[in-house]
Structure formats: structure tokens, C-alpha cells
Symmetry: C2
Subunit: 359 residues, 2 copies
Amino acid sequence: MLNGLGVSSEATQRTLAAGDPLGTHRVLDPPGALPQPAERLDADASRSFETELVVDVETLNIDAASFRQMEDASGSPDGVARLVLETVARRGKQHNPVTGSGGMLLGVVRRIGSLAAHRGVAVGDRIATLASLSLTPLSLRRIVAVRPASAQIDVEGTAILFASAPLARMPTDMPERLALALLDVAGAAPQVARLAGPGDTVAVLGAGGKSGLLCAAEARRRVGRGGRVIGIEASPEFAADLRALALCDHVAVVDARDPLAVRDAVLPLTGGAGADLTLSCVNVPGVELSAIVATRDRGKTYFFAMSTSFTAAALGAEGIGKDVDLYIGNGYAHGHADHTLALVREHPALAALMSSRYG
Amino acid sequence: MLNGLGVSSEATQRTLAAGDPLGTHRVLDPPGALPQPAERLDADASRSFETELVVDVETLNIDAASFRQMEDASGSPDGVARLVLETVARRGKQHNPVTGSGGMLLGVVRRIGSLAAHRGVAVGDRIATLASLSLTPLSLRRIVAVRPASAQIDVEGTAILFASAPLARMPTDMPERLALALLDVAGAAPQVARLAGPGDTVAVLGAGGKSGLLCAAEARRRVGRGGRVIGIEASPEFAADLRALALCDHVAVVDARDPLAVRDAVLPLTGGAGADLTLSCVNVPGVELSAIVATRDRGKTYFFAMSTSFTAAALGAEGIGKDVDLYIGNGYAHGHADHTLALVREHPALAALMSSRYG
């Protein structure tokens, strides 16, 4: 006998005991969905599945675009707290219904399912989840503090991690909040490492922000002396921080939402051609075309920001006849947590700046 | 002296004579905007810019959503004609203020600027614009006919094509409607040609639809005998058409919105690993995760459909710890029109099917 998913009822029984690695056993609505697109998850940790980890949650690290939206919509930290409680109560996860994005969390392992022993953690370990909050079953007892500067929220609650959900043990050689902030954008630098090569020109939009700094640092060590790193940053303060790190060959104070200003900042530095690789790390809508016009013919444009519009990028490139490869930023890459922590350890000045801002 | 765009006045003089490749010299309101988001363009073809083409317009191929909105709002073909005349008179382009969309146009090249000689067209050539009407300067003398069945409007008018605006010479060896239907998705096959190699396994979601058929045909000739093409198609009729063309090694009738069903269809054919390249050609929301779970570790997932959600793809891959490269479908690639028309000419059975459906 088959159920709606084409799985035999016997197999379903086994799946229910173990839990599906993708977490479909926690989806309440709609049936047959995966946890991320699902409207509502079952976050009841008293029900045990053997592939799951159960975590006592201490801190939510909210996605920047999501935090900004909740701030704008509610007008205060208390308002953000209310929105988070409301979303988690309704959906069983901190999945912002407006931005579609989540974030990550920090907590302590409370229970390890019998089929999760290979995951390399022990009960009592402090871990960070690297899967998005938008697919992580979560229940909250209360909100302890909202910290807008770091887009972090201290809470008391319980989360469930599926077998497929990436996680990292917290490093002990740097402040926890700094590590969490870095792990939140751990996917960025490894992707840059794959795409940038010796001699390349790399342009980073939003280079003075969190993921932008990591991208600039990674680009610097990949392009070598023959290559160039161009930082575009709207905030004069962030641009000054960026200049002080000496990661970029050029830093321009430009609003990345203005494609003509971005073009005029990047093209003259590249003989009119554009960058080999342009990274968009700007967490506001409307920068797609700027990233595209900054890139050379047959170059690569990589969008890390969750505020990116698929259609604005696709139709923007088509409308101006720009033959570039357009990438959706994948937040996961093998070894990304270790990669990003090692990158920051290698740059004491970067670690100090990150620590002062996000630690 | 600098103007608002940070360009010297001398440079501005040069730019005005040649015309900006992006068409900013035709923007009247607001200043500094690009033509697509602009409220109003200068469509006066008596002012010459050397990078521009001037086209005598015969037919406007209105975006389906835009045409329907104008029909609903006006109640008659005459009403649609009035709305189009009104929009073009006010904005200098057929940019529907309600839907935000445009369409494309057919016409004959009247004038070629001295800096546009490389564009591969001659005065008198019949062409289709592949840039959206929402960014194409247009003036109309009169409307000749409104044809609701095809959302086409025959007109007498003049359009201006910027240096960056893609265009295609209309082929003379196939029906016009078929050619337009193919040009509408011309970007798909060339991207597949770049990403698929000999021996690869390529999975196509929505393989029986317009862009899906082109992708399957291109994949077939790229992967060779050692490779495999897997077609996923929800419609039994479209799946039968697809099977009859013998482009795919396997065709499965599966709804691509069901990631578990897609996983169960693709993984057993690939030893549990997943496809090297998965193409999403399904024009409905909610297929991002299906495309991702069908792809092997370090494989490529390419999204052609405009219904794709950036965050669903980015967070979906991250959430399940899937290390794949995610691409936004760029509708433009060099030589894409010729490439796609040649692909269809090479397959008489495909051409016949396309003609019966879309011709």
C-alpha cells in the first residue's frame, strides 16, 4: 500500500521512528511539503525521532534582511520581540513571512537520537545551527533580550535539528557572539574561494558589512598580487573600517542601489570592462542591476543577500543584453564553518573589527 | 565640473553624441534612472545617437499579463488600443503602469547609428526586439489592428534600440509566431550547452514545456551516448510528446512541486547520487527544493523559470546541507537567438511539435 508520497506504509513506520533526514516528519501544513517551504512545523520536542538532535536555545541570530523588516514594521526592539514570538507560535519556526528568511541559533545539545551519534557532538556541547531558522522546529518560552546592533535575540526555548541540518561546535578561542555572527555567513568566503583566481578583479558591493568583509578578505588571498579587489560601500564609517584593513585596492563610497554610480566606480578601474567576479553583499532591495553592470562580459555575478530578487536579476541582465553567469548564494559549502573561522583567525585586524561590531 | 552622475561635462558631451549603451540619455524622468524603471522616456527619433538603431514598428507583442489587464480594464479591443496609445504618449514606451510589464516588438530597421554597425543587421531587415518594451523608446502614429487571440497589436510607429538591447533578425524559414515563441525563451538552450558535458546526467524539470523541450534537446546533443537525460513532466500529454521525440533516456510523469517524488524519480537512476546538472523549467512556484534534491553533491542547479524564489533556493540548499551551485537563468547569452533557432531546425520532429503548439 502506498501513501501520497509513494512510500510503502511499512517504510513509513520505519521513517516515523527514525525521522526523515529532510525533516518531512515534522511538517504539519501543507502535507508532503519540506520543512523550509512549509507553513507550519511540529516543534514538540517531547516526541522523539532517532535521527534528531534536541537543543536548548540561548540566542537567535536573525537574518539581517528579516531583522530590518521587523524593525521597520514594528518600530522598536519590543516590537521585534512580539513579531518573533507571534511567528514562532504560529509557524513552529522563526520563518519571517515577509522576507521569507530566517537566521540561525546558538544553544546546548540536550538529546542525541540513536541514529545521530555520527554527528560529532555530545550532550552539553555548545553548538550553532547552520541550517536556516526558516526550517528549524522551534518553540519559545520567553524572549530575554533583543540586541538590534547584532540582529541577535536572547531567548529561552527548544529547537530540533534534522539529520540533514548542518551544525558547528562553537569554537573556544573567540567570543561566542563573534563566532555566531561569523557562522551565520559562513558560506560566503568558501564560495569566493571557488570562484576567484589569481589575477582576477573582484568587486564587492557592501564590502564594509559582515559578509562583505569576509568576501573581501577571501578575494584578497585568492587574487594575489596581480589581481585587484574593489570595495563598494555606502557608509563612510564602514568604508573607513574597510580601508584600514587594507584588503581592497580601491574603496569607493557609493550607494549600491545606484547602477550608474556603481558602473562609474568600477569600470574605469578595469579598462571599461568590468570585474571578473562581482559579489553582492548588500542587504537592501534594488542592487541587482548594479552588480550586473559592474561585471565584465562572461564574468560572474554572485548574489549573497537574501533581499535579492530573482526576476530583477534575470530580467535585468536580459534587458541590457549582459552575458554573465548569475549565481544564487548557497549558504552551505562543505567545511564552510572551519573555512570562515580560519580566515578570520588569519587576519587579527579583521577579527578585532568583527569582534568590536558583532562580538 | 561634475554632473549628478559623476561624469565630467566633457565626457557628457561625448556621451550625448554617441548615446549611453544603457540608454540613460533617453530618460526624461526621473533624472539618473535607467530606462526600465524610468517613468518617462524621450522617444523622439529625429534626435540621433550613434549607438542607436531606429526601427519602423509593425507589431507589438504585448506581455500576456499586461494584455489581459488592459482588456479587463477597458472591456474591448478598441479600449486596449486607447490604453496603449495613452501609455505610449505619456511614458514614451509601452510600459503598462499596472502590471509593470511590456512585451516585445517586430519591425524593420530604418536607421543604423555609426557606432551600431557591428550589430549584424542592415537597413530593411525585419527584426524582433528581445529587450522588453518596458525599456524601449516608442512613438505611435496609429493602431492598425488589435488581435486579442495572440495578444498582438499591429501599429505604425517608431522604436529606438539602445546598444545594449538584444535583438534578432526574423528567420524566413519558419512561421512568424513559432519564431517569436522560440525567441521568447532563446536563452535556455545556450546556457545548457555551456553547462552540460559528455557523459553527464542532466535532469530537466518541466521537460515537456516550451523551454524544457529546448533544454532536453540541447542536453541530448551535449551529453552524448555515455550521458543521460532525465525528463520530469507533470502533464501526461506533454510527457507523451516528450517520449515521442526520443530526447530523454527516461521520462517520469511527476509533479515537480513534490520534492520527495522528484527525489524518488531521479536518485535511483543515478545510483542514489543525483544529476550532474538539473534544469528547472517549471513556471509555477515551489519547485526550488525539488531541483536541489535531484542534483548530486557539487553538481549544478539552474533555474530558468521566472516563478523561482531566490530565498527558497538559497535557504533550501543551505537548510539540507546541499553543496550545489545555484544559477539564476539569464535570458540573454551571446548568439542565443541563432543558437535556439538552429537547434530547432536540426530536429524536424521538435520543430513540428513546437509549430503545432505555439505556431
